[in-house]
Structure formats: C-alpha cells, structure tokens
C-alpha cells in the first residue's frame, strides 16, 4: 500500500509538472502569445475568440503571473481548457471528448494486444533459444520497431487499402451508416475500419516487449530454482509459465511506463495516416490550424491518460509481486 501511495504522489507531481509546462510554454515565447495566435489567423478569427482566449490562458491585463497561474489552475479544475480556435466557439474539452473514445478504444486495445503478443512470444523465444521464434520472429519484430510507424501505416494503407481494396481507406466507420451502437451493422463497420490501424500499431509495437521479455526470461532461466523445478519433474509449461515467466514479467511491467508514452506517440501518428477521428487526428488538425488551446488541451489529456494507465500497471504489479505489498 505504501508503494501505491508513493506512486500516486509521483503521478500527481508528474501531472502537476505537465500542467505547469502547459502554463509557462506560451509565456516563454517572445511577445504576447495571444497576439501571436491572432497574427497567424490574419484576422480570420472571431473577435469574441480574442477575449475567450485571454480568459482561458489567464492572460488577464494587470494580473501578475502568479495570479494568472491561479486563474489557470482554477479553470482547469473545473474542466475548462478554453475554446478551440478552429472550431470556435466549441470548448476544447468538447472537441477532445468527441475524439477521445475512438482513441482509447483503438490505441488501448492495440497496446494491450501488442503487450500480450510481445510477452507471449518473448517467453517462447527465450524458452526455445536458437529456434525459429528466437532466430527469425524476434529480429524481424525488433527491426520493425526501428521503422517509422507512420511509414509502415502509409505502406499498409496504400498496398492493402488503396491498391488491393481489402480495407477501408479513411474514417472510423462507414459514413453511409447511421452511428448507432445498438445496430450490428454499425459495430461491424467500426471493427472493420479499426482492423488495419490496429494491426499496424501492434506490428510496430510488440517487438520491444518481446525483446525485453526474452532477455528477462534468459536471466531468470539461469536461476537455480528453475533447475530445481525441472529436476522435480514438473511439466515444461508449468516451469515456463509459473516459475520463469511470472518472475521475468515484472521488469516488463515496470517498463510499461516508459514504453507507453512512446507507443502512444506512434499510435497518434498512425491515426493521422488513416484519418481516424481520434485524438491524433484532432492533434494534426490543431497543429495545421494553429489551434493552440486545442493542442495544449490534447497534450494534457494524453499525459493524464498515460498517468492513469501507469497507475493501473502499478496496481497490477503489486498484485503480482508480493515483495511490493
């Protein structure tokens, strides 16, 4: 429990750090950020947006930075991330929540799949050292990890969707179908549209887990208790999964934190390639439209999501490792 509390406090600090970065970033630019943003829109921006912007970013005339910071924190605590500039006057939080569920479904599922597949293959690769999985699947998978995610996605999109026509080319569902989660047709369409992006994310992400798990496993397999278990005549599966893998998976779980941010970064770009209406695609539009409030809101949301996912990984870690209790 003490471990979890300590982790929780750490995530709190990390979240606070991200929020503070978000606050100070526009203020580190030369000149008035609101003016900069306005300049880039060349007067095409609604004048009402100007005041909303000042309020949202806490750029209130005559207030000190500290007072502005407090205003900003107060706004945030009420879930107010400001107004989106490119969709004015829709609040940023609304734009994000519209796309967030798509991303959580797509990336969350893909990450879990990549983790499970990677760990599973890593166990097998270590157990069967020098065999097919170790000599062929592992190098190929790790090499895929060194490839640019978005390029693999582009190739998959071009060859499997555009040229071969096996997969849909854009969006998360068939636009001709009315979005209604109770109709089977719609759900099937959503699954069909998610297949290719998900496959690309899994393909590029599982190699890292696999390599890490294999190397942990090799270390654990050299331990005396593995030899002891085998000498007792336990079955291979039991030794491999219950004795070796259970101990070898712990470093992978703690490594989850580091890898998750990386995987999510890559997955956001995969969304961009497939024009999948999630957070990544919204981020692209925010970048292209110079929609700073939206950009920063998305950064905060992603960071918070990663922190929550990490806390869940910690809880699982405590459940698996009695030493942490």
């Amino acid at each position: 429990m003490r471990f979890l509390i300590r982790r929780f406090l750490f995530y709190l600090a990390a979240g606070f750090f991200a929020i503070t970065v978000n606050f100070f970033l526009p203020r580190m630019m030369v000149g008035d950020p609101v003016q900069i943003m306005f300049g880039r829109f060349q007067g095409r921006l609604d004048p009402r947006a100007y005041d909303a912007l000042r309020a949202a970013f806490g750029f209130v005339e005559g207030e000190s930075t500290w007072e502005q910071y407090v205003t900003y924190l107060t706004n945030l605590s009420q879930g107010d991330l400001g107004m989106s500039l490119s969709n004015f006057p829709v609040p940023v939080s609304e734009v994000i929540s519209a796309s967030l569920m798509w991303t959580i479904r797509l990336i969350g599922l893909a990450t879990i799949m990549a983790f499970v597949i990677g760990i599973g293959l890593g166990i097998l690769a270590a157990w069967k050292r020098g065999k097919f999985i170790d000599n062929f699947v592992l190098p190929v998978a790790s090499i895929l990890g060194a490839f640019p995610y978005f390029w693999i996605a582009m190739l998959a999109l071009y060859y499997l969707a555009f040229t071969a026509g096996w997969f849909p080319i854009t969006h998360a569902y068939d636009v001709a179908i009315r979005p209604d989660w109770s109709s089977n047709k719609f759900v099937l369409s959503v699954v069909y549209h998610a297949l290719l992006p998900m496959a690309t994310i899994v393909l590029t992400a599982f190699g890292g887990w696999m390599l890490g798990m294999r190397n942990n496993m090799i270390g654990v397999l050299a331990e005396d208790y593995i030899v002891m278990a085998q000498a007792k005549g336990l079955s291979d599966w039991r030794v491999m999964l219950v004795y070796a893998a259970r101990n070898a998976i712990l470093p992978s779980l703690t490594g989850f934190a580091m890898a998750l941010g990386f995987v999510i970064g890559g997955a956001l770009v995969v969304e961009i390639v497939f024009a999948y209406p999630g957070i990544g695609y919204t981020l692209l539009n925010a970048v292209n439209g110079r929609d700073y409030p939206l950009m920063q809101g998305i950064f905060l949301m992603i960071t918070l999501a990663v922190l929550v996912a990490n806390f869940i990984a910690d809880v699982i870690y405590v459940l698996l490792d009695p030493r942490a209790r």
């Binding site: 990390a14 950020p33 790790s142 490839f147 640019p148 390029w151 071009y158 990386f262 700073y292």
Partner: protein, 360 residues
C-alpha cells in the same frame, strides 16, 4: 579572407570522409587517448552539426569509428554479423550524405524538372533522368532523398550528441553525488520519462513558428534525455560502490578524476549504445514532426518529402515513388543503428549471444 574560409570549408568537406576513416583509428590505437578522442568526437559531431549540414555527417563518421574501436579490440565488432551489416548500411548513408551535392542530379527544391507525379524512369520525354520519379510540382525525388540524408543524419547525430551529454551530466551527478541531489534529479528524470514525448515535442515545436533543423535539435534534446540519464545513473551507482573506485578514493584522487577516468571509461559501451538509441529516436521523431507538418516545409528532409506526399494526395494518384524511397531510407538508417546496438549488446553481454562460438 572570405574566399579563404570558403576554400577551407570545401577542402574539409572533401577530405573529411577519408580523414575520418584514416585518422580516427590511428589515434584510437593509443589506448590512453581513447577516452579523449571519444569526448572530442562527440563534441566535434555536435559542433559540426551547427556549422552546416555539409560538415555534419562527420559526426557520424566519428560515431562509426568509435563504435568500431571502442572495445580496444578493433575486430570484436567485425566478428558480429549483425554489427557488420549495420556498419555497412550506415557507412553507405554517411557517404551519400557527405557527397550529396555531387550525387544529386538536381536541386532538390527545383520545380518542374519533370512531369507532375512522373513515375521513376531512366529517361523521360525531355531526356531527364528521374530514377525515383517526381513529386506533384515536378521536384526530383531522388535528389530530395539524397540531400534529405544530410538533414536526417545531421539532426540525428547533433541532437543525439546533445542528449547523451545531458544524460552523462545528469545521470552521473545523480548516481555519484547521491542523497538529496539524487532524489531531486531522479524525480525530474522520472517525470520526463512518464510524460509522453511526442505530444510534448509537438506542443513545443508548434509554438515555434516553422522550426528549422537547429530548433528541432534543441527541442528534441531537451525533451528526450530522461531514458539515458536513468540508465547511466544506475550504472554509476554500481560502479561507485565497486572496489576500484574505493581504491581510487583512498589513494586521494579528486572527484573529477574519479568520474572522468574511473567511472566514465567503464561505462563506454553503455554510453555508446544509449547514444545510438538516442540517434535512432531523434531521426524517427524528426521525420514524424516533418511528416505532420511541424517542420520547415521548404527545407529538404525525408520527413518533408513524406509530408508533401501526404499533402499532394500521392496515395490516391498511386504515386508510390514519392513516399516509398524516403521512408525506406529512414527505416534503413534506423535498422543499421539498431543492428550496431545489438552487436554491442551481444559482445558486452555474453548471455544474450546467439551466434555462440562464431562470435568469440
């Protein structure tokens, strides 16, 4: 005076590659110089990245040579098949980057050198050669790919060098000094580790209007050091408690001497592999940023070519030649560096070795 400087620079440009290949191993043969050449190589690579893109790949040459000779047994890496393959591919790209101006048949940004989205051809109707075809505005993709190698390697080695310098400073300080300093630096490191890198980089780069390569290098450097710092910190902790460091301490060596001559040289393989990891990360991230439009669209880079391919609807017009070559180059460079890292890993960690007796 100005002519002299230009002449000197072009002389260096022509000579840097043969010189790098010949001189570096010679200096490195003298063991006592190794660590200084290592530091100088890192510094030179970083500094040259700023002097101009033409000179930047020399950083890559230093990296290659140092990797080659770092184990003091020059041939250990050569007996590792993965590392050899990686070194061969990387060398090829470095040669291309250094001689990009001589290799590229056109100015990469010159429009109308061929038909819009013209397919790859040895000779088009006007007698022009476009072996990788042309983009929508008739820019030669082959020239873009060749010159783009320079940007990618320059940004990669430049930012990689800054990152590893930050890692060394932060990691060793935290590990060696310990106590409150360690607590604070570790907290800072862990926070940077957990905050998703790419979104943070996108937000920072988004605020800088049309960031050039130098800005990208700085942004990437100051957001991506955490992983290496953490690895180096834990290794410093191990070394600090070892007997030879204790012996150095009781014999009255200064802290600086212990850190620079006892601890740092014993982490060389770790530092080199973190460095390579950082370079791969930077090259991929730079391409990603350019691809989503957060770069200078008029600068030539692999990510930039991919950005225009997406913007010009290359997928719909089936102009595969606009996005396959630059992406394949990024992938090949990433692959070569990863292979070198595997080689180092297998040599320094014999338990992971799969090639068995052959690698011995």
């Amino acid at each position: 005076m100005k002519d002299l400087v230009t002449g000197l620079i072009s002389l260096i440009e022509i000579l840097q590659f043969p010189l790098g290949i010949v001189i570096t191993p010679l200096i490195l043969r003298h063991k006592e110089y190794t660590r200084w050449v290592w530091v100088a190589g890192a510094a030179a690579g970083g500094a040259l990245a700023y002097l101009g893109h033409t000179a930047a790949p020399i950083g890559g040459i230093f990296l290659l040579m140092v990797v080659w000779f770092y184990l003091l047994n020059p041939f250990s890496l050569l007996q590792n098949r993965k590392a050899v393959l990686g070194i061969v591919i990387l060398t090829m790209f470095i040669v291309v980057a250094v001689f990009a101006d001589q290799i590229a048949p056109y100015d990469p940004q010159q429009m109308g050198t061929g038909a819009p989205h013209g397919p790859p051809t040895w000779e088009d109707q006007r007698g022009n050669m476009h072996i990788f075809g042309t983009g929508r505005t008739g820019k030669d993709i082959f020239s873009q790919t060749v010159v783009g190698a320079r940007t990618s390697l320059a940004v990669g080695f430049g930012a990689g060098t800054i990152i590893i310098t930050l890692c060394i400073i932060i990691g060793i300080t935290a590990g060696y000094v310990g106590g409150f300093v360690d607590e604070a630096l570790s907290l800072f490191t862990n926070i940077f580790l957990i905050i998703p890198g790419l979104p943070l980089i996108i937000v920072v780069a988004g605020w800088v209007s049309r960031p050039g390569p130098t800005t990208i290098v700085l942004v990437l450097s100051f957001t991506s050091w955490a992983w290496g710092a953490r690895v180096l910190r834990s290794q410093t902790l191990v070394l600090r408690n070892s007997e030879f460091v204790a012996a150095a301490r009781v014999s009255g060596e200064s802290t600086w001497r212990i850190v620079l001559f006892e601890i740092l040289p014993n982490m060389t393989s770790l530092v080199v592999s973190s460095w390579i990891g950082a370079v791969v990360f930077v090259i991929l991230t730079e391409a990603t940023l350019a691809y989503i439009g957060l770069g200078n669209p008029s600068a030539t880079s692999w990510g930039g070519t991919l950005y225009w391919a997406r913007n010009d609807q290359a997928l719909i017009t089936h102009a595969w030649w606009t996005f396959v070559p630059p992406g394949a180059c990024i992938a090949l460079v990433g692959l070569s560096l990863t292979l070198i890292n595997y080689g180092i890993d297998e040599i320094t960690n014999p338990r992971l070795r799969t090639e068995g007796a052959k690698a011995k």
